[in-house]
């Protein structure tokens, strides 16, 4: 039995998507506030705290998330979808709220980072269990010709969760000073506290939902799986489909998703050095404008099949990542900005001497002046230049100034047309995400039988997204260490993984939509 009437399925989609969106929001705010959290809970110079910090970052995404997929996938196939993904929501919301209540390291010492680590691991566990349940639940309510479209609503939640998290943090931050935001009980805690309100509303809505009709039928007939893990991974026929899902679809989708949404933001902030608020504004617009395309490609996949839409998204990423990121770099090159003429010429608006270091070397007094210069043009562009110029004072040199050849530029503000160009490029990358990601829930649901669907689809999904996607920044740092002169070298990892996935997907996957998911 499926719900073909708009009202019934609308409720199912809304209640499932809202909870999943909140879980993504909860998971992201920790990552986005990592710097502040680190100051409060993982102070520098303390080895134990540093170890706990590393564990909180790496173990939650890489180890615990796939483990959560196994734990909750098994539960979802044994006791039902509804109660399982209700439980993951409570776990996620509860741990997020509690992170916001933990006193800082200065107040309770090592207990603070220990508690944060524990709660972060619970977050990873809960996230591992949520998505598979929501996607399965919606798909099992959907009519066959609309399965891609209806499940694509679930697919919007990961991006919308990021959008809401960015928006809430920007809103809180713009209403207080940096000091008020980062203090021990400062504004950074508000996004964590807000979560509890969202979770309560979502729990209330989810409690009113009924169990998936396909699962209820299965349970009534006594056909529910008694050992989903064994049936999913011990049965060769099913296991080979788990491997195919991972290497032929989710692995590539994971890196495309991560590169478009997270690596782009980090690249604009840390490599292109765009000012904090403008960087977020660019991301918010790009994400906001592209999000409806999840629904477009979800619906399209019901007509033309899932395979080629997903693989096209990955292939476009493979082709266009380097040109797009190269444009980010070229357009934020200050040397080019300084050459501009007319209203675009930047002029100095303030200069601050940070410190002067003096050293006597023989007869010569060497002075190094560290200064911070703010530049701005009439067009609205601006940047900060931090430089260290050396003045040599001796009879021979007589105050000769050696200008810093490698000044550091930061807080770059783009002109309005340039900002919209960057928004368009981010939009294009999110468009690739929507192509690769929108049909994936329907694709995974159709690959596995009802009795072990939750378990079988959750593991490849979380390995693809959590491990392959989550590794993008780590491997990028690794590649940069090997080729420090090439700022785009980090892109080779997502490009190669996505290309590999396109090859496997092209040759191994079928484009046929499985009409009967009742079996």
């Amino acid at each position: 039995m499926v719900l073909s009437n708009g009202k019934g399925i609308g409720k199912v989609i809304f209640s499932s998507s809202l909870g999943t969106l909140i879980e993504w929001y909860d998971f992201y705010i920790f990552g986005m506030l990592a710097k502040t959290i680190s100051i409060q809970f993982f102070p520098e110079g303390n080895d134990t705290a540093a170890l706990l910090s590393t564990l909180a970052i790496f173990a939650a995404g890489f180890l615990v998330r796939p483990f959560g997929a196994l734990v909750f996938g098994r539960l979802g196939d044994m006791i039902g979808r509804k109660s399982t993904f209700l439980f993951t929501l409570v776990l996620m919301g509860g741990s997020t709220f509690l992170i916001g209540l933990i006193p800082g390291y200065r107040t309770i010492g090592i207990a603070a980072p220990l508690l944060v680590l524990l709660l972060r691991l619970i977050q990873g566990l809960a996230l591992g269990g949520e998505y598979g349940g929501a996607a399965t639940y919606v798909a099992e309510h959907s009519p066959v010709n609309r399965r891609g479209y209806y499940t694509s609503w679930i697919q919007t939640t990961a991006t919308l969760g990021l959008f809401v998290a960015l928006g809430v943090i920007m809103l809180v931050k713009s209403n207080m000073t940096d000091a008020s935001f980062t203090s021990e009980w400062g504004g950074w805690r508000y996004p964590f506290w807000i979560s509890i309100l969202l979770v309560i509303v979502s729990i209330y809505i989810r409690l009113k939902m009924s169990e998936s009709p396909l699962y209820t039928k299965l349970k009534k007939e006594g056909k529910a799986s008694l050992n989903p893990l064994k049936e999913s991974f011990g049965n060769k026929g099913n296991f080979k489909m788990v491997l195919l899902a991972l290497f032929g679809a989710v692995m590539g989708q994971g890196v495309v998703w991560y590169t478009g949404q997270f690596y782009a933001q980090s690249f604009l902030e840390n490599t292109a050095k765009i000012e904090f608020m403008q960087n977020r504004e660019i991301m918010l617009w790009g994400i906001g404008l592209a999000t409806p395309f999840f629904l477009v490609f979800g619906a399209l996949s019901d007509r033309i099949g899932r395979k080629w839409i997903m693989l096209s998204g990955m292939l476009l990423g493979v082709i266009f990542y380097r040109p797009i990121f190269n444009t980010f770099l070229k357009d934020t090159n200050i040397k080019e900005w300084k050459k501009m003429e007319g209203n675009a010429t930047p002029t100095i608006i303030s200069k601050e001497i940070l410190k002067v270091d003096s050293t006597q070397i023989g007869n010569e007094l060497v002075q190094v002046t560290h200064s911070k210069i703010k530049w701005q043009s009439q067009q609205g562009t601006g940047f900060t230049e931090t430089r260290a110029d050396t003045i040599l004072n001796s009879e021979a040199t007589q105050g000769l100034t050696k200008e810093d050849t490698k000044p550091v530029f930061a807080d770059k503000i783009l002109s309005a047309p340039m900002k919209w160009k960057f928004i368009s490029l981010v939009f294009v990358m999110i468009l690739f995400v929507t192509m690769a990601y929108a049909p994936i829930a329907a694709f995974l649901v159709e690959l596995f039988p009802t009795r072990i669907r939750y378990t079988s689809m959750s593991l490849p999904y979380h390995i693809g997204n959590g491990v392959f996607g989550g590794l993008v920044p780590f491997i990028a740092t690794l590649l940069s260490a090997g080729s420090p002169t090439d700022p785009l070298v980090g892109l080779w990892y997502p490009i190669l993984i996505a290309a590999l996935c396109v090859v496997i997907g092209t040759f191994y996957l079928s484009n046929k939509i499985d009409k009967n998911i009742n079996d």
Binding site: F247, F448, D519
Partner: protein, 87 residues
Amino acid sequence: MIKKLNMNSIKKIMGFFWMILAPVVIYLLIKAAIQNIDSTGTKDINKPVPWIIIITIFTPIAIGLMIFGYYSLKGEYDHLPRSSDDL
């Protein structure tokens, strides 16, 4: 029919490649870990814990890739199941 036959032959050849690729990936990861772990470094790639976690999680994934290659070589992916009864 000929097209299908060719596709299946390509899958078999690729299967061999996947089987080789898996241990190569693990070897490269271990090599990169040895080269980059450095107690004086400050980046994540210089710390042993991320490497331990990544190699721990990647080893079963690489074994999965080898099995995928093996199945491919044996023709397990020549015909995908049409319904759950075929699994």
